[in-house]
Symmetry: C2
Subunit: 518 residues, 2 copies
């Protein structure tokens, strides 16, 4: 057994059985080990940003980490932006980066770089294995670190000789470092705040994050809502949320600072369940970054590393809430529109036709508002958002989600600007025959920047500036691009065309792209 | 005048007049300033890896820096791999990264990250502007740092409020920190070593790097060669080299360690002109990383930050060499082959048909050997290589070279695996109507890894491992992909087809892609 085999077997022992990979020479022993340790499922991606974004999508849906396999510092560098997104969403990822053999590093060969330096800004844990005998232990610790509440990117750097030199054995799994429990005192205090607030006519909201938005957590929040009338919020870019008909209703906080302030008008207290106080996504000249209305107070029920689920359940009990939340989202499907395609009509078609239990890997950007409004009342689904705001996540995220949940359809509504970042992801969708429907919103623009240019008060913007936000010249043809990567694709210019194409995609399985000209 | 305008005007004052950009909200004032400071030429790219690779190509050909414009930490992260390549080639780049306004950073908004941390492994200089009044001075220092011998990546981080707050004025250019001069003593010692070596039958070679491979430097090296018989070498991945008929002959060191050792057999001394000792690109089990044959000694004529050109000229004088090198590469064009396309026949066609003065932005990977052999004796040209070994550079590099030299044709021979990394570059080629002919070598494989898998002795590689190196399923159609990005494209399956398509591309101007099925 060599170090690479001890590594792969340890990952399997730790229930990490999926590896998104773009390997190079220094990772060849790891690659070879996938044939001797047969339970590992390797998924080849044509770019490292696809690797890391897919690992993010997998981690969000599977609730456990996938491994990546990246080639030296520059390979890691290509994956950093989507690791930034994963960091913001607390997604568990075992981020494996090969490097030059220990004895080779002194020679500063062309690919040598400061791998740990690249990894530091996105990693909650970093370890460089020193020799082949410690790789198994290091890998077990990496899995534990990735899974530690609230979840994070654990980067394991493997010099090539730690893979090819002999190892003794694989390691077993280490115990999970689960979330800390919230104290009875805190729960009692929050229960009292809610009750007193209700008694004095104050409005309370709970801002939910992480597992508080899923299953038992959401149910417990719904019990509190039913008993006390608190409103339930989630962040604009909540990592994973379970929404739609039959679910406990949760309102999504809007994107722009002034919208947030308006949204929060009348709220006197916001209780944070694993969430952070609401701030503006960007700063603007002369405008505040802090978004709470004057007099609105924040109270923590749980910090991100604490169990929001336990806290909500005990809070519901303390408040004497019903055992099951009686408040549910009613199914309200929009009619199928005709005529011109735009973000609203496209959203109505998607909401009308998408079956239950779909996962949305959503990077719909400026088209998101009508989409989210329509989906919120449509059939039950799981929603994945652009957690860290770094575009180019949606397509890879869809890959990871589809591999984590092979029996669920994934819909990927995506802005054209962001989709161009990681367009190679289409190839992996075809290679793995994933049940993903990609909808490209082709507005030929970095549309958000046309809005932001005004909002930041950038005076004097003329044709040169505006040309930097415009993607018309030349126009991309996403159907051709998708065909080039081996994917079935079509273009829709009217509601009727999109309805027919999307309905067909929903009825069949497999990868499919529809370009919506809006 | 605001900080952004003072920045753009300062860049113009420092002769930085081209900006490769993929901006976001925090860079909107910079973008707007391009309309008030009209001499700046902004070039929009659809991905930051294209931005930085284009800035690399520009810097290599223009001999002066372009600016980048990147969006926050994750935007920079997407550009890091090609900045790694630029760092290895000592390309001057002014790397401008926007960030959240200073007062916004405390709120840890989703896009906030450790920007300087991301930049550190690739930057020779980093500065975060503290306010709008210092931006002009910081920019002037950034240009000076980028241009300081031997050239490097100077990263300037601009919080958004340093762009939108008032500034007093732009800054003028700072004096160049030129290369240090090599001492007369060193030149005398090297002259003596060469003469004594010749007298005692020892073989000497000079390994040239940086400006020693161009113009006056190459000419001076040729004079030494003519007088003393030393062989002239350049690195496998020399950043810029001037090659072909009429030029002083330079031999390229091969890629693999054992090839290097064989290539150096019989060489007793290697004189380093701005170059580093030759080492293996990767490490292999049980094989040495150091590539010099036993007994072969290294001597430094100049370090990378010293003037190799001056040193070579004075060395030639000290040796009594002729005023102009009489040794020149004779023009030797291969015949046009017929029949099956493969790396050799494709190379023969390219060498036969390419006109003089072309720039090759070369990421031909495993197809490079026959290409370089044929090009070395073909018409005079400039060659740009994959300096840092991080694939996905070639297409962006071609953009930068074409913008730096608008009257020269650029040919970009590229492996399919690497081209998939930064495929969005095709769009910018069309948008800017650049005179670039892209040749995609479609071998449907990470071909180098099939070789390396054996070389590293990865035992037990089976179907799973081999599938990680194989790009057949699905097959990419590069003509469709290029069409999707608005580019004219064709596919060649025989020598006859490639000859017709390539000849047509050489006779016309503008962007064009040919997929060569090898």
């Amino acid at each position: 057994m060599n170090g690479a085999q001890s590594l792969v077997q340890t990952l399997i022992n730790c229930e990490v059985d999926t590896c998104f990979a773009n390997p190079g020479t220094s990772e060849m022993h790891f690659v070879a080990a996938m044939d001797s340790v047969t339970k590992m499922h390797p998924v080849l991606c044509l770019f490292e940003g696809v690797v890391t974004g897919a690992a993010d999508g997998y981690g969000r849906i599977a609730g456990k980490p996938a491994a990546t396999l990246l080639h030296c510092g520059p390979g890691l560098a290509n994956g950093l932006a989507n690791l930034h997104n994963a960091r913001r969403g607390n997604t568990p990822i075992v981020n494996i980066v090969g490097d030059h053999a220990t004895f080779h590093q002194q020679y500063d060969a062309p690919l040598a770089s400061d791998v740990a330096g690249f990894a530091r800004p996105v990693s909650s844990w970093i370890c460089e294995s020193k020799n082949s005998k410690t790789v198994a232990g290091d890998a077990a610790r990496a899995v534990q670190a990735a899974r530690s509440a609230p979840g994070g990117v654990a980067t394991l750097i493997l010099p090539a000789d730690t893979a090819w030199n002999p190892a003794d054995c694989a390691s077993g799994a280490l115990a999970d470092i689960g979330p800390a429990m919230v104290s009875a005192e805190t729960i009692e205090q929050v229960a009292k705040l809610i009750s007193e607030g209700n008694a004095t006519g104050k409005k309370t909201a709970m801002l939910l994050s992480g597992k508080a938005l899923l299953g038992d957590g959401l149910e417990a929040a719904g019990r509190v809502q039913a008993k006390t009338g608190v409103r339930l919020f989630c962040d604009t870019f909540a990592s994973v949320s379970e929404l739609g008909a039959g679910r406990v209703p949760v309102e999504r906080v809007p994107y722009f600072a002034e919208q947030i302030v308006a949204f929060l008008t009348g709220i006197d207290r916001i209780i944070l369940v694993g969430a952070k106080p609401l701030v503006s996504f960007f700063a603007y000249p002369g405008k505040p970054s802090w978004c709470a209305p004057e007099g609105c107070e924040y109270t923590y029920l749980s910090l991100p590393h604490e169990s929001g689920v336990q806290a909500l359940q005990q809070l519901a009990d303390a408040l004497g809430a019903p055992a099951i939340s009686p408040i549910r989202v009613p199914l309200t499907l929009p009619d199928l529109p005709g005529g011109a395609l735009n973000p609203l009509t496209a959203a109505q078609i998607i909401a009308n036709l998408t079956p239950e239990n779909v996962i949305y890997a959503d990077e719909s950007a400026t088209s998101s508002l009508p989409l989210l409004m329509n989906l919120g009342r449509a059939r039950a689904h799981t929603h994945l958002a652009l957690t860290g705001g770094s575009i180019g996540l949606g397509l890879p995220l869809a890959i990871g989600a589809a591999i984590a949940a092979p029996n669920r359809k994934v819909v990927c509504p995506h802005g054209d600007g962001g989709a161009a970042y990681t367009v190679q992801a289409l190839w992996t969708m075809v290679r793995e025959n994933l049940d993903i429907t990609v909808v490209i919103y082709a507005n030929r623009s970095y549309a958000i920047l046309n809005i932001e240019l005004q909002r930041v008060g950038a005076i004097g913007a003329g044709p040169k500036a505006l040309s930097m936000l415009d993607l018309h010249h030349p126009e991309m043809n996403w159907a051709h691009i998708a065909n080039g990567f081996g994917m079935e694709a079509s273009r829709a210019t009217t509601c009727e065309e999109f309805t027919a194409q999307y309905a067909s995609a929903m009825k069949s399985k497999g990868p499919r792209l529809i370009e919506v000209l809006i």
